[in-house]
């Protein structure tokens, strides 16, 4: 295994970890405010579809991104109304959103485009292209000619879609907002002890809705990334369980932004290795490809079975807030 191979696996890791990271941060915002959200998957899927559909019809990827975010925020709002205003069960509402998105996207796609539940393939102009930093090579064959530093710069640092950089920026931003601002303190308090926040005269409902909307925006970015950057168009069920992996990463990360980044990168790394090495030969013994592809999921089980130590969720998570009378 030469140096370039390692750089390429890391490059692939970043690409594959980005949707996970965005969804994971979305879940973090929502759950920190006490709203459990297993509807990340559904929101990503809806955003993926609408971003691709609008990017195709208007030809503008930015309008597509906007449409994806709107769709995702709409579903988030639905979850908010069900679980905050009407105090419904948050898990059931999340499941409902997953089903709704899985079914609706295909039905609408079929009605609009008649291509069997997918959007037409996007042209290069209506996708997020890769940003090439100054002095970086773009093609793998040119990159192979460079020195180690150049390879890291051209392959790993340059040449990603803008959403990848946005996702990475979201980590410090989330950390700052949650831990260094008054809004963040209150938001975290709402997830731990909403009664105390209410006593202090701050609106619990308002804060929870704010968290849910932020969650929707981040899921929208994740979905748009899948359909307009990683792929060229929407296909049925294209989120492929990433929303659930993101939830696992969230628990792995103990609901903390920087840990979330490392957890998502780890899951991305295993995915990338599984793609690259289909059969790994260890001496006489060959690790089969099925094992490599199952690795991210095996990892989820092992990690959640106790390797992370005790992951304590926000104390008021999953419980609708009722004012005492």
């Amino acid at each position: 295994m030469d140096f370039l191979t390692i750089v390429q696996i890391l490059d692939s890791t970043v690409r594959l970890a980005t949707p996970l990271l965005l969804a994971c941060l979305a879940g973090l915002w929502s759950e920190r405010a006490g709203i459990f959200d297993i509807g990340l998957e559904g929101k990503m899927l809806a955003a993926a579809f609408f971003s691709a559909a609008i990017a195709f019809t208007t030809g503008s990827v930015w309008l597509g991104l906007f449409a994806g975010i709107v769709a995702s925020v709409f579903l988030s709002g639905l979850h908010g109304v069900a679980s905050i205003t009407f105090r419904g069960n948050q898990l059931i509402s999340g499941v409902a959103i997953n089903f709704l998105a899985a079914g609706l996207t295909v039905v609408i796609a079929q009605t609009w485009f008649q291509q069997g539940g997918r959007t037409p393939q996007l042209a290069t102009e209506s996708r997020f292209g890769n940003i090439v930093l100054p002095g970086a090579e773009t093609r793998i064959r040119d990159i192979a000619q460079q020195g180690p530093l150049g390879q890291v710069y051209s392959e790993l640092i340059s040449g990603h879609s803008i959403l990848v950089y946005v996702a990475l920026l979201m980590v410090p931003l989330t950390w700052f907002l949650l831990y260094r601002t008054r809004f963040g303190l209150r938001l975290r308090a709402v997830g731990e002890n909403p009664a105390a926040v209410d006593t202090a005269g701050v609106s619990v409902v308002g804060l929870r809705y704010a968290a849910v909307v932020i969650c929707g925006v981040l899921c929208g970015l994740a979905g748009a990334y899948l359909a307009t950057a990683l792929n060229a168009g929407f296909v049925k069920d294209m989120s492929a369980g990433r929303g659930f992996i993101a939830l696992a990463a969230l628990i792995f990360a103990k609901w903390r932004p920087w840990y979330a980044l490392s957890a998502c990168l780890l899951f991305g790394l295993f995915d990338a290795i599984g793609n690259r090495y289909q059969n790994i030969q260890l001496g006489e013994f060959i690790v089969p490809v099925q094992f490599m592809q199952a690795l991210p999921y095996i990892l989820v089980v092992i990690v959640l079975a106790g390797l992370v130590g005790k992951a304590i969720p926000p104390r008021a998570g999953g419980e609708p807030y009722v004012k005492e009378r």
Partner: protein, 332 residues
């Protein structure tokens, strides 16, 4: 209550007319990649569509959503009186062998698999021969001497594509390296363009400058990445040259459309038994049109056509992976 009755009555009447109007026509069942996968299933659809346009007839169709629906779909069409029922895809083999004996008066046509029953017509293609030809083209177009292959689901059929391709490559350039990857081991591997793209990037990194995708919808991701990275790709089943003009070297044509069209045209009396569509029957081949005319030189065409003639004449034998599960060419 009466409202409910009216509604139910209307629904029942609708259901009756729907089956009545369409009974006795032919039907086609598409596999999991979806009707518009721009590849295998779309080719089947095009054949059915051509028949409908030429004869003015109508046909029924079912697009499968999951493995569990296969048997149900066949039974539903058979009960509704559709005849013949054409199904695309080797995954239909097991359910069909269960269903076919139950409907002795219905003729079934299965593409890509063999079911031994008196009322089944099995159509198989000599994919290894077509792949051999595109393998030759790949080796002639390659500058690095390394070419790639991305398969869909890891099954003998797809290995036959890869093995024929590798033989064609080595026939032109004995020193060439063939890198082969499979997308997955479940039917989801037909519809995973992200993974297809990642596999292609990995192959390019290892020096491949022509990549052949035999992976249904996953192949779209392969062709996309090949176009982005400025290398050549080879499409499969349908003619995919138009997807990325100038980047798709050629497509390995598998005339599923002809198989469907023939079956529809012959109607319920279509001849049963095993039918092999090879180079001679023009069941497989390579695509040449205005989108890749500049990529295929006259010499390349000459060499490939000579090989084609030799295979048809029986002078050149392309090994079929499916006969013994091995490939004479080592792939990486």
């Amino acid at each position: 209550m009466s409202m409910m009755k009216t509604l139910m009555g209307a629904a029942a009447a609708l259901a009756l007319t729907a089956t009545g109007a369409l009974a006795d026509g032919p039907a086609v069942i598409f596999d999991l990649g979806g009707k518009f996968d721009r590849s295998f299933n779309e080719s089947a659809f095009n054949g059915a569509q051509r028949w409908a346009e030429e004869t003015g007839g109508t046909f029924r169709e079912i697009e499968l959503q999951s493995d569990a629906q296969r048997e149900q779909a066949m039974r539903r069409l058979a009960e509704a009186g559709a005849n013949p029922i054409v199904m695309a895809g080797f995954l239909q083999e097991t359910p069909l062998s269960v269903v076919a004996p139950d409907y002795p008066d219905t003729t079934f046509v299965i593409i890509d698999a063999v079911v031994d029953a008196p009322n089944v017509r099995s159509v198989i293609f000599a994919e290894h021969e077509g792949s051999y030809l595109v393998g030759m083209l790949a080796a002639m177009a390659s500058e690095t001497g390394t070419v790639g292959f991305v398969g869909g689901m890891d099954v003998p059929l797809i290995s036959a594509f890869g093995c024929g391709y590798a033989q064609g490559v080595v026939a032109v350039n004995p020193e060439a390296t063939v890198i082969a990857n499979m997308t997955g081991t479940t039917p989801a591997a037909w519809n995973d363009p992200v993974r297809g793209g990642e596999l292609t990037r990995g192959q390019i990194a290892r020096g491949a400058d022509v990549v052949y995708a035999a992976a249904g919808g996953t192949g779209l991701g392969v062709l996309q990445v090949a176009a982005d990275e400025g290398i050549l790709s080879i499409g499969v089943d349908s003619n995919q040259n138009y997807l990325h003009p100038g980047s798709v070297l050629t497509s390995m044509l598998k005339r599923v459309d002809v198989a469907v069209y023939d079956a529809f045209l012959a109607g319920p009396d279509v001849e049963t038994g095993v039918h092999v569509f090879g180079l001679e029957e023009e069941g497989v081949g390579y695509a040449l049109d205005e989108f890749n005319a500049e990529l295929i030189t006259a010499e390349m065409q000459e060499a490939v056509d000579a090989a084609r003639a030799a295979i048809i004449a029986g002078e050149l034998m392309v090994h079929d992976y499916r006969t013994d599960g091995t490939c004479p060419v080592q792939m990486q």
